[in-house]
Amino acid sequence: MWWGDQARADLTNQMFKLYEEKHPNIKIVGETSPFDGYFDKLNTLLASGSAPDIFALGSNIPDYVSKNVVLDLTPYVGKGLDVSNVPASLIDFNTVDGKMYGVTTGGNARAFAVNTSVLEKAGIDVPNESWTWDDFAQINGRVTQKLGKGYYGSYDPSGSYEEFETWLKQRGKVIYDNEQKKLGFQPADAAEWFQMWSDMRKSGAIVTAEEQVTSGTDASKSLITQGKVAMLVIPSNQLASYQKMTQDKLILLPYPNGPQGNGLAVQSGASIVGYAKTEHAQEVASLMDFWLNDPEAIKILGTNRGVPASTKMIDVLRADASAEDQIIYDYLDLIGKNTNVKATINIPGYNEFAQLLMTASQQVAFGKTSIQDAVNPFYEQAQKVLDINLKTAQ
């Protein structure tokens, strides 16, 4: 079972048919659901013990692993499940405590989508991947200055889990330290993060708090496609959705660099996992292997969920890729060159933590509290959430 629209459903079912042709004794029933309601349905199915053999997850894999409903794939690696062409960062993403639980079906990386026309109009050169946060602040300031009211340099990613973590990684920290089983950052870090964005917001260089709410995450309403905002953080695979809403040329840029580089790594936008109580574990591994490595399967799926996990498969698709997809592939190549970026291990209690972060960021943005007064309770509650979720994992 997976989430998505009808285009994705058609492609996926097509792929299943292909698999069935190659494995005549196996029948696959594919179930799709709109994203809205997918997890409700999944949780209900899991709670009643009737979940599908394979289902899709995102950043919340550890939360499902800790509740013992996910199949451990490690015994199948090399024995029906070939992951030799999958980059280390993607394997790590799907691994919890040394055991592999998932297979990436769509890779992406966080990126700044940049509207080059807006920068041009403001007389600013498009930066390259060696830019810094100071450059970033300057560009934002100049966009507002040159173009006036209603124009902004960037949207405000301060409430987003992935964005905060990338910034932390640039400083050698993480949100969740899995070895020590505690939060990997200090309140002061969060304060510095919010302060940076707050300064830019006050000077009008980034969007207002209200605008962020209205259009910050919706491609069809975004001001970047209306030529009013120059930069926006997106997962790389959404480039096409934004590009098709505007004539301006959009490109992808890595984060501005911090003390340890840009902190980015190729991540799993969506993975598939097996159900712990499945009766067909070997077949599960076989289908996953097919999904990962079969060139015909990959050709059918394309980049609908993101970039294929296997580098070999990327080459298969690259030859006929569209202009936007080329940009994405090039971008991921660039990111793939990053070494020494800490592995992404999502915090147990991901949903709740992400919500706390968003609330804290909005408190600052709307001026409801001072940064310190937002950060301290946020940190405390985050600690509590982590403790509760670690406890249940035992």
């Binding site: 899991l46 499902y64 409903v69 209200e210 919500q355 709307f366 409801k368 249940t392």
Partner: protein, 296 residues
């Protein structure tokens, strides 16, 4: 004895439904409220922990409860007033009555509609039609959608806009009042206002009572408007975190189903108290056709 049999015969479908479909889940949820249950593994008994935490450590509980109360106290009276007022106007035999009735009723058909939520957001946004209308009177209104401090009002407005369902019920009730009574009182020279208070209201009181109780019960459980107009998770800044949404979040997003069950039972008690109070006041203002001393 025979009376009992007849009574239960009529009650049978409901009784079966209640025993098979309601009792089990209700008892289960009560049990779960005393456990730690993360949905995917077995529940673990934890006694009064959940309840204790809710009342002593949970800021979101108080916040969402307060928000929900505000919603109920503002939207229920407004809905009922509009519903009754328009019902009375429409009851007086206008031409094209059917069309008007339909027009007023359509909004309430669109409850969970994502499309209408988008429409609503577009109308009440910072630079939407509503604010542009107000600015012609030189009133500078805030952004009713993206500003967390004002968002609740646009949601209340949405709820009041959907008064059509209560209105239809009032209409049905008004139609049950025989015309002769009004004609008789007209002959007696009774003025319109007195007619309203001495004939309409009392004869309509069972229906009014019903609308009041039902609106209170359902408003306390408001869920969908918060989800489709807000950001789906109680934001921005928890301004749409209605109690039912918070409950849902705890149970389905944060995997704290035991905690969510406790929250649900607390809500049930609260609604129950409100309902009992309203029921208790029945004898002071509600007149049934089967009571002695009722208006005739």
């Amino acid at each position: 004895m025979r009376k009992n049999v007849t009574g239960y015969m009529f009650l049978l479908p409901w009784l079966i439904g209640f025993l098979c479909l309601a009792v089990g889940p209700i008892m289960a949820s009560l049990y779960l409220s005393f456990t730690d249950y993360n949905l995917l593994e077995r529940p673990v008994w934890s006694g009064w922990n959940n309840y204790r935490n809710i009342f002593t450590k949970d800021g979101s509980f108080t916040h969402s409860l307060g928000l929900t109360f505000k919603y109920v106290l503002l939207s229920v009276p407004l809905r009922l007033v509009f519903a009754l007022a328009i019902a009375m106007v429409l009851n007086k035999g206008l031409k094209m009555l059917g069309i008007y009735r339909t027009i007023y009723y359509i909004p309430s058909l669109l409850g969970g509609s994502v499309a209408i939520a988008e429409v609503w957001k577009a109308i009440f946004a910072g630079n939407g039609i509503f604010n542009r209308f107000l600015s012609t009177f030189n009133i500078h209104a805030p952004d009713w959608i993206s500003n967390p401090f004002y968002l609740i009002y646009s949601i209340i407005a949405l709820s009041v806009w959907q008064f059509g369902s209560s209105m239809v019920i009032f209409l049905a009730g008004l139609k049950q009042i025989p015309n002769e009574i009004y004609e008789a009182s007209n002959v007696d020279g009774v003025g319109k206002l007195r007619q309203f208070f001495q004939i309409t209201l009392p004869l309509l009181s069972p229906v009014l009572f019903f609308n009041l109780v039902m609106n209170i019960i359902s408003s306390f459980q408001v869920f969908t408007p918060g989800v489709v107009i807000g950001d789906g998770r109680g934001g921005p800044l928890q301004s749409t975190l209605f109690y039912a949404l918070y409950l849902y979040q705890q149970g389905f997003s944060y995997f704290n189903m035991g905690y969510a069950s406790a929250l649900a039972w607390i809500m049930l008690v609260i609604i129950g108290i409100f309902t009992m109070v309203v029921f208790g006041t029945q004898k002071y203002w509600v007149f049934y056709g089967d009571e002695k001393g009722g208006k005739k």
